[in-house]
């Protein structure tokens, strides 16, 4: 299958710098993956190959590591990551409806990202704020005691943000 849209080339030289710092050290894999992801937002096949070349580790082994941990992502992540808590308390208070609102507003399900790479939906087990259930987080900001309509207006607000 050929890519119809030619992807914008990403400058991967930052990977070489990160790897140079860790080269020859044991246990470098996870910190390098973390730093690279921190910079690019996710880990692509090309990035993994480049890390592998630099650290002299098979890209297949690296892929095994990164798919093991929930902290690593293989697709670009939205500018705003919406974490909808699906823990017991939030579930009872109707967090399922809030996920549905995200789907209605942005057309994305759990783990998906909008095509403009603005929003990613992530359903999480518990964010430790059961007192304000149902609760969501958008990046580092927490919003609690939500009704679906309140959630919708928050999402709309973010959707209109320009920067």
């Amino acid at each position: 299958m050929e890519d119809v849209v030619e992807k914008e080339a990403i400058d991967l030289t930052m990977i070489d710098e990160v790897c140079a710092e860790y080269k020859g050290r044991k246990g470098a894999t996870i910190p390098v993956l973390q730093k690279v992801q921190e910079h690019y937002g996710y880990l692509s096949s090309d990035m993994i190959d480049r890390i592998g070349e630099n650290l002299n580790i098979s890209s297949h082994t690296l892929y095994g590591v990164l798919t093991f941990y929930a902290q690593f992502y293989t697709t670009p992540r939205g500018k705003y990551v919406i974490r909808v808590c699906r823990g017991t308390a939030c579930h009872v208070k109707g967090s399922g409806r809030i996920s549905e609102v995200v789907k209605e507003e942005f057309g994305i399900s759990n783990g998906e990202t909008t095509s403009d790479i603005k929003f990613t939906l992530e359903e999480v087990s518990c964010i430790g704020a059961c007192g304000m259930a149902p609760v969501i987080m958008i990046n580092d900001k927490t919003y609690g005691n939500l009704t679906p309509e309140q959630a919708r207006s928050i999402f709309k607000e973010y959707a209109q943000k320009q920067d």
Binding site: N56, I57, S58, H60, Y63, G64, T67, F68, T74
Partner: protein, 751 residues
């Protein structure tokens, strides 16, 4: 030693043995699924759980070391119940499609199901339904059948050292796969497949063709390179169905490469010629083998009486057995009386180091050869040792090879720079230079160093002989090309006589070409015109080759799977080849016996009788066991005086590379190997390709002096800038490669 009691049997074992090893010694059977003795203990499947007295928990026999006075129970109702449940749980996801699974009859899971008496599954079966992966021509992958024992991942990591696959995801989503689920793209050695206990990784060349219980196993030696690997030829009704390994057998310890494991269809190929052919005018006509032999002997006798005995030359292929090569020399020297025996082998370098020397080495130098491609199984041993030693592997080669992951020093670069560096290294070993002195001092300080090199390059040989003199401890391993490259030297067929020279002097009027495809050999490339002037050419080959096409009489002969005899590998180890099948074709041995007898000589009437004669006449073979003995040689390398030379002019430096999938022209008859590599391609650095506006698969003309030749482009990120390479011994490459080992060329892109 440690005393343990297993099921009431007392046994003494080494400290640090596992319970499983102790049980084996005691003759007690413990079932295993994820464990494999070639791999490190893993303990994933829990099938080998045993009870240890005074220990409240059950222990996995494969990972638990024994302690003194341990009392172990391997069989009781509790264990039986647990093992049975384990299998039942595996069978929830494992599809019960045994009737259509190639593994049926030799499947560990099937055997365990039977052994533990699982006759029904208490749980709702939920077999996955993932499409089968057919993306590569050798290994079919059905991940639904996978039980996640991890043997494939571990052998690719621990033994092959390539890490082409890994465990992915987590928990119930775990699968075995590649990075971003790309198609498998590795060396295709098939080691993963050989250890798979279920039908998850299958041999596509064998797929759905037969069932294991129908197959007859013949122990033999692979005939596709000089590694001398023991193989099991599985055959039925004179057809080879697969080549299997035996991890208890042979110098290769069960390891095989893509050629040895998957290339065997060249034995069955329907394009193999069944009839002898004689040239009448411009056409070939079929004749019977009896007529062919009598025509050959009549013609040879006629030419001998007309022009004298030195008007006949005999060309010996490195693929013949020792016995055949011995008879070929007998035919030439004793019966015809000609000094002209030709082969593409030399006696410049003789075997010295063995596989054991590699395993025990503390310092390995690989000089200017991609051993992982030319002799893949030797490459496995080098990688395993380097991994075990965590270093001590030094490689000189224009580009990074598969040794990259384990090499501690890797010197790459343009030949014009690299060759200078190699000279510096040799100088430093001799104490004449300070450049490269760190590497040299490591080699000099080593206790059991090994040097792996290409014995066909005079300039490399010169370096090797200098290093050997300066560091006599170094064991030399010449990477000979073919299965019996060494044997034909030992049988006296490497006389140093030069075919080009011999034919050029117009003395030779007839040639007997035994299995060599001289028409496409770079060493003989200028011959084709001369050959047409000869009065008579007899050629033998399993296939009708380019050489057969220019001969007057062609006789199709047996391959290594159809004949008896011995091969001598690069270690100088003589090993017995056994016929697995019979295609109704004569062997070179029987043909030579007939020719010798009809030309007035007396040939031994059997391979055994020929071996008796070899013992009498070839002194260093006299006391050698022909089934695995190692020949001792008077020297390892001759004093060779040669310098590196880059011939020609142009903007790109060209070197000859080796090719894993093929050892020359013979393996190109395998329809499976040619699926991954069909024609010789030119490898080029991505930036150079971009400069020339070339993409993978484009045609480019290589211009070396006046010679021009088109090749398909293959982009190779490891080739340095300004460097291109073309594989050796490949049809269509001879005209270019004959010019020199290293040359400067121009590349011209096609419109």
């Amino acid at each position: 030693m440690v005393n343990v009691k297993i099921d009431g049997v007392d046994v003494q074992v080494e400290p640090n043995s596992t319970i499983l090893e102790a049980a084996e010694k005691a003759g007690v059977h413990i079932p295993i699924l994820c464990h494999d003795k070639v791999l490190k203990p893993f303990g994933a499947c829990r099938v080998c759980l045993v009870e240890v007295k005074n220990n409240p928990k059950l222990m996995t026999a494969c990972t638990t070391p024994v302690m003194d006075n341990m009392e172990i129970t391997t069989k009781n109702d509790k264990l039986a119940k647990i093992r049975k449940t384990l299998i039942e749980l595996l069978l929830i996801n494992h599809p019960l499609d045994c009737p259509v699974c190639d593994k049926g009859g030799e499947c560990t899971l099937q055997d365990l199901t039977y052994e533990f008496g699982v006759s029904q599954v208490r749980f709702d079966p939920k077999p996955n339904d993932t499409p089968v992966d057919h993306t590569n021509p050798f290994i079919e992958r059905d991940i639904d059948r996978c039980v996640l024992c991890g043997r494939c991942v571990r052998i690719c990591d621990e033994v092959v050292n390539i890490q082409a696959i890994s465990f992915q995801n987590r928990g119930t989503d775990t699968i075995i796969g590649t990075s971003f689920n790309q198609p498998w793209n590795c060396e295709f050695c098939g080691q993963c497949m050989s250890v798979c206990p279920v039908g998850s990784l299958n041999n596509r060349v064998y797929l759905f063709k037969n069932r294991p219980w129908n197959l007859q196993k013949t122990e033999s030696i692979c005939g596709l390179c000089s590694c001398g690997c023991s193989i099991l030829i599985d055959s039925e009704d004179n057809e080879v169905f697969r080549i299997k390994e035996d991890y208890d057998l042979g110098v290769n310890k069960g390891l095989l490469c893509v050629k040895g494991r998957f290339g065997f269809e060249l034995i069955n190929n329907v394009k193999r010629e069944k009839n002898s052919k004689i040239k009448v005018g411009e056409e070939f006509k079929n004749i019977s083998i009896e007529d062919a032999i009598s025509t050959a002997s009549k013609k040879l006798a006629e030419i001998k009486s007309k022009y004298g005995s030195d008007s006949i030359g005999v060309v010996v292929s490195s693929r013949l057995t020792n016995e055949e090569a011995f008879l070929a020399r007998k035919l030439a020297k004793d019966v015809i009386g000609t000094p002209y025996i030709f082969s593409s082998e030399t006696d410049d370098a003789m075997p010295e180091g063995t596989y054991a020397d590699i395993e025990n080495a503390d310092d390995i130098t690989v000089l200017n050869i991609d051993v992982t491609e030319s002799n893949p199984v030797l490459g496995f041993f080098i990688r395993m040792t380097a991994r075990k030693n965590e270093g001590g592997l030094r490689v000189f080669y224009p580009k990074m090879t598969a040794l990259k992951r384990v090499a501690s020093e890797f010197y790459t670069g343009k030949p014009s720079e690299l060759l200078g560096l190699i000279n510096d290294f040799a100088d430093a070993v001799e104490g004449k230079s300070n450049r490269c002195s760190e590497a040299a001092s490591k080699l000099l300080a080593a206790n059991s160093p090994v040097l792996v090199f290409n014995p066909y390059s005079k300039a490399d040989l010169a370096v090797v002989s200098r290093i050997k003199k300066a560091q006599p401890k170094v064991k030399l391993i010449p990477c000979k090309l073919k299965n019996n490259s060494q044997g034909i030297v030992d049988m006296g067929c490497a006389t140093g006589a030069d075919l080009v020279d011999g034919l050029g002097r117009d003395k030779i009027k007839a040639l007997v070409v035994l299995g060599e495809n001289i028409a496409v050999n770079p060493g003989y490339v200028n011959l084709v015109g001369v050959l047409s002037k000869l009065e008579f050419i007899l050629s033998t080959d399993p296939y009708f080759t380019e050489t057969s096409a220019i001969s007057d009489l062609y006789i199709p002969v047996a391959t290594f799977a159809e004949k008896s005899g011995t091969f001598t590998n690069f270690e100088g180890r003589v090993q017995t080849v056994n016929p697995a099948i019979d295609k109704g074709l004569i062997s070179d041995f029987d043909l030579l016996v007939s020719l010798i007898n009809s030309l007035g000589g007396k040939a031994p009437d059997s391979v055994d009788a020929a071996q008796e004669l070899i013992r009498k006449e070839i002194s260093n073979y006299s006391g050698v066991d022909f089934n695995g003995g190692v020949v001792e040689y008077p020297y390892a390398v001759k004093d060779v005086n040669a310098r590196y030379e880059i011939v020609g002019s142009g903007s790109y430096e060209l070197y000859r590379c080796s090719l894993r999938f093929h050892s020359g022209t013979f393996t190109t008859w395998s329809p499976d190997l040619t699926k991954v590599y069909k024609e010789a391609t030119i490898e080029i650095n991505p930036e150079d390709a971009a400069d020339l506006n070339l993409k993978d698969g484009d045609l480019v003309t290589v211009k070396a002096g006046e010679t021009m030749k088109k090749f398909y482009v293959e982009i190779e990120k490891y080739n340095p800038r300004g460097v291109v390479s073309i594989p050796m011994n490949y049809k269509g490459t001879e005209a270019i490669l004959a010019k020199g080992e290293y040359q400067r060329v121009e590349l011209i892109k096609h419109a």
